[in-house]
């Protein structure tokens, strides 16, 4: 079996990246595997390639709808037709059709809540699943920064599917999280393949400022100097929009704004423009980045510190996937703590939202004439206005597993209280990292119980960075767009009028 040959034929790469081969060999040997690979180093290849060497299908459980869609399209773009995603984007009819043809597919992506559906479970049981993949496996742990109660039941489903060979993938997981992954997935003999979370080609820099005004001027001058492409993370849609506008006018870069307030079509277009280098800079909220395979991102700037180190590491991991020199800059002002608190609380549903959700469901019950589980399920699939996907999933999960409205409210409120306390600790750890002295890379590695054992040139602002190497090499000139629909139409169809 020549893995390199398949790597080249199916994925057009000539060699494996760090860790990929080891993980692939482990699952092909039939061993349950937990793999920890840093963000941006080609996790998905670790289950896509084995797919071509096994008889049965690969079932991938993935937490985010948008991420799932991106992965499906990326596989399709590589010429793989036998790939499908089963999630709430499918209408009832479409789902029926997909399930009818399920045997055709090699790669089946599924969202965790779909696994509760008895009909779907039964169909999956009839398949030969050669590999079960749990993507973002840290979501299973209460100690993880992104706990999803839906994930807890994967272990049971795994047994029901006959305990196929399982690969749990994550980018960031401390020991206690890895223990949870083993426990909840009911994995007994496990091969743990852990790679350092360090990405030596990314320089870490924290830029301390005093107050909002100074932050503004700092960001503006940074963007004017730095070599693109880049991502700038903001804490709100409004800020992302405003800054995209401002930077479009003040710099020679083409700048876009990406956030959850945009409809699906606009989001796809913006991702695409960024990928094709039609946009140089994306002003984004944390909604942006998952599932985007852009190799040449040169900088990631955070306008505000995130709420935990894991999120930060994940977001800056979008820089430098090509291995070239890149920089992560965090703008920090002492009063940011208030905003971080707000952000942290905003991840979970607040009491008003819980109340609203409860009332909405009461009304919904009246509307839904037949109160079968399935119709309630469909009813709850898409978040209402004003709820994030994460909030909605949580409410949904607690609602469906509660006897009545009161149990629902008490249990979710209890959960949120506990969660907030936990997040408070994570927040402190984040801020500790920001203000601590000593090498930032080393401190970050210590957080994940790792040691820094290589010397990195341009490591962090405390060790010293030569800023010049991240600066713009040549300035680009922005062309003014002349709109002519006739010419554009010809261009689309490659029609030349001669």
């Amino acid at each position: 079996m020549n893995l390199e040959k398949i790597l080249y034929e199916k994925f057009s790469y000539t060699q494996f990246r760090n860790g990929q081969r080891e993980i692939i060999e482990s699952v092909l040997n039939g061993t349950d595997t937990i793999a920890l690979l840093p963000t941006g180093t080609g996790k998905s290849l670790c289950y896509q390639l084995p797919g071509y060497l096994v008889d049965g299908c690969v079932l991938i459980i993935s937490p985010l709808l948008s991420l799932m869609q991106d992965q499906v399209e990326q596989l399709r773009a590589k010429g793989e037709k036998r790939v499908v995603a089963i999630n709430s984007f499918l209408s009832f009819e479409e789902k029926k059709q997909v399930l009818r043809n399920i045997r055709y597919y090699k790669f089946i992506y599924i969202s965790p809540e779909m696994l509760h559906n008895e009909g779907i479970k039964k169909i999956l049981q009839s398949l030969t699943i050669s590999l079960l993949v749990v993507d973002e496996a840290h979501c299973i742990s209460q100690w993880g920064y992104d706990f999803r109660p839906d994930y807890l039941e994967i272990g049971t489903v795994r047994k029901q599917l006959g305990s196929p060979v399982t690969l749990a993938l994550t980018a960031t997981a401390r020991q206690e999280v890895r223990d949870d992954i083993k426990r909840f997935l009911k994995l007994e003999m496990v091969n743990e393949i852990i790679f350092s979370s360090d990405r030596p080609n990314i320089a870490y820099m924290v830029q301390r400022v005093n107050g909002y005004e100074e932050k503004r001027t700092t960001l503006l001058s940074l963007v004017k100097q730095l070599q693109g492409p880049g991502i700038i993370y903001f804490s709100s849609k409004k800020l992302a929009d405003e800054w995209a506008k401002l930077l479009n006018e003040a710099t020679s870069y083409n700048v876009g704004a990406y956030h959850a307030g945009l409809d699906m079509e606009q989001r796809i277009l913006l991702q695409q423009q960024f990928l094709f280098n039609e946009l140089d800079i994306m002003c984004a909220t944390s909604a942006f980045g998952m599932g985007i395979n852009k190799e040449n991102v040169r900088f990631v700037i955070h306008f505000h510190p995130p709420v935990d180190i894991e999120s930060y590491l994940q977001e800056i991991g979008r820089a430098g996937r090509d291995g070239e020199k890149s920089i992560a800059i965090l703008l920090y002002s002492p009063d940011d703590i208030h905003l971080q608190m707000q952000l942290m609380e905003g991840e979970l549903p607040n009491s008003l939202q819980i109340e609203y959700f409860g009332q909405y469901m009461l009304q919904a019950k009246v509307t839904i004439n037949n109160k079968e589980q399935s119709s309630m399920d469909t009813f709850l699939q898409q978040p209402l206005d004003g709820f994030s996907e994460v909030q909605w999933r949580l409410l949904r999960k607690f609602y469906l597993s509660s006897r009545d409205e009161n149990t629902f409210k008490t249990s979710i409120q209890h959960f949120i209280e506990k969660r907030k306390q936990w997040k408070q600790i994570k927040l402190q750890e984040m801020n500790q990292w920001i203000i601590s002295s000593g090498c930032r890379r080393e401190n970050m590695l210590h957080y994940f119980n790792e040691e820094k054992n290589i010397d990195v040139l341009n490591c962090c602002d405390h060790c010293g960075i030569t800023m010049e190497i991240y600066q713009k090499v040549h300035s680009i000139k922005k062309e003014r767009l002349k709109l002519n629909w006739q010419e554009r139409l010809q261009e689309i169809f490659a029609i030349s009028l001669d």
Binding site: Q69, E73, Q74, R76, A77, K78, G79, F89, L90, S91, E94, V98, G256, L262, D263, M264, E265, Q266, I268, L269, L270, Q272, Q273, L275, F276, E278, D385, G386, L481, L483, N484, W485, Q486, R488, L489, Q490, E491, I492, F493, A494, I495
Partner: protein, 358 residues
């Protein structure tokens, strides 16, 4: 927000204090309920139905608050009505940004969306195909659209070679859009063409294009959809001339459909059951069944109401509504004592159906 203000003021003016403020929201976002369908019909607002589907209730409520504060509307009998200042504002906004004449939210609700999804993905696919490149990220992710395009290409490949197909589709688009360009001063094909993605060139988002053209985003969205409505309308009337484009619409019914519950009632009605029997069979209140009948009268031109209101009485009701220029049931009833409220509603519905502009 400007154009939402314009359309809300317009609806409030038409409702003339006879309908609640929420009715405006339901109408503009295209709520599928008998009541909203009735409002759209009675007050000749069908064009504006479903004009701003993305509008959130919160944003709407905030806007109403703003209109009250600015005295563009005022409180009147538990609802709001337009003020003289509001009328002036409305006139100003509409003269600055006229409502596009091809737009018909009622007739093309949802049809426009499916049409756009198909068109944009088809053009992207052909653009890549043409350069012998089959791998790209599709601009539309819906399973339905993707399988439709796949199928379309599969069928067409047997009929045309690559070059001929490309040329023909280009020709049809070029011709139909040139005609739009000639006849309309305000709506340019630019609004649509630059949204399209093609080989190695991504389309603009609605926000980006509106920005580039210096247009209010909501007004842009309506103008954009009005081009789709123009296309759907023109293609359907010239099926031979635009035979490739017609394929995008062929299998789509004009989706002006009855709400589900009303469909069930209609089936029983067509089996000859009386209102009482239907209420009994469906275990619904008689009122509810009556609402369904109103909806049917508003939507189905073949539905006859003679069995419920004698023709003489129908005429009397219409005369009363016209002379009092109102849709207020109580006022009409004062003039036509022998009619009950259901009869009046039914007649007004039927009458507005036969008067509707298409």
């Amino acid at each position: 927000m400007n154009y939402t203000i314009a359309l809300s003021l317009l609806c409030i003016e038409r409702f003339n204090g006879e309908r609640s403020t929420n009715a405006v929201y339901y109408l503009l976002t295209g709520k599928k309920s008998s009541q909203t369908i009735q409002d759209a019909g009675w007050y000749q607002l069908r064009q504006y139905y479903h004009a701003i589907p993305q509008l959130s209730k919160q944003a709407f409520d905030n806007m109403i608050k703003f209109l009250l504060e600015e005295n563009y509307i005022c409180n009147q009998d538990d609802t709001n009505n337009i003020t003289d200042k509001g009328k002036e504002k409305l006139g100003f906004l509409i003269s600055k940004s006229p409502f596009p004449k091809y737009f018909n939210g009622w007739k093309y609700q949802q049809l426009d969306e499916i049409f756009w999804k198909r068109l944009s993905l088809l053009i992207q696919t052909i653009s890549y195909w043409n350069r012998n490149n089959a791998s790209f990220y599709p601009v539309q992710r819906s399973y339905e659209t993707q399988s439709w395009v796949k199928n379309w290409l599969y069928v067409m490949k047997n009929k045309y070679d690559k070059q001929a197909l490309t040329k023909k589709l280009y020709g049809e688009l070029q011709s139909i859009l040139s005609e739009l360009d000639k006849t309309s001063q305000t709506i340019s094909p630019t609004l649509l063409i630059y949204r399209l993605s093609s080989y190695q060139k991504t389309g603009m988002t609605s926000g980006q294009l509106a920005n580039t053209l210096n247009m209010d985003e909501e007004y842009y969205a309506i103008c954009f959809r009005s081009i789709l409505h123009y296309l759907i309308n023109t293609i359907s009337h010239n099926r031979e001339r635009y035979s490739l484009l017609w394929k995008l619409l062929e299998d789509l019914k004009q989706r002006v459909v009855l709400t589900q519950s009303t469909q069930a009632t209609y089936q029983l009605l067509q089996q000859g059951k009386s209102l009482k029997e239907i209420a009994h069979i469906r275990r619904l209140k008689k009122n509810t069944i009556e609402d369904h009948l109103i909806e049917i009268a508003l939507i189905d031109p073949d539905f006859s109401i003679e069995g419920y209101v004698p023709p003489k009485l129908q005429e009397k009701i219409i005369v009363a509504a016209q002379s009092q220029s109102t849709r207020k049931l109580r006022t009409i009833k004062e003039h036509v004592q022998e009619a009950d409220y259901f009869m009046i509603r039914l007649v007004l519905s039927k009458w507005s159906e036969s008067n509707k502009q298409t």
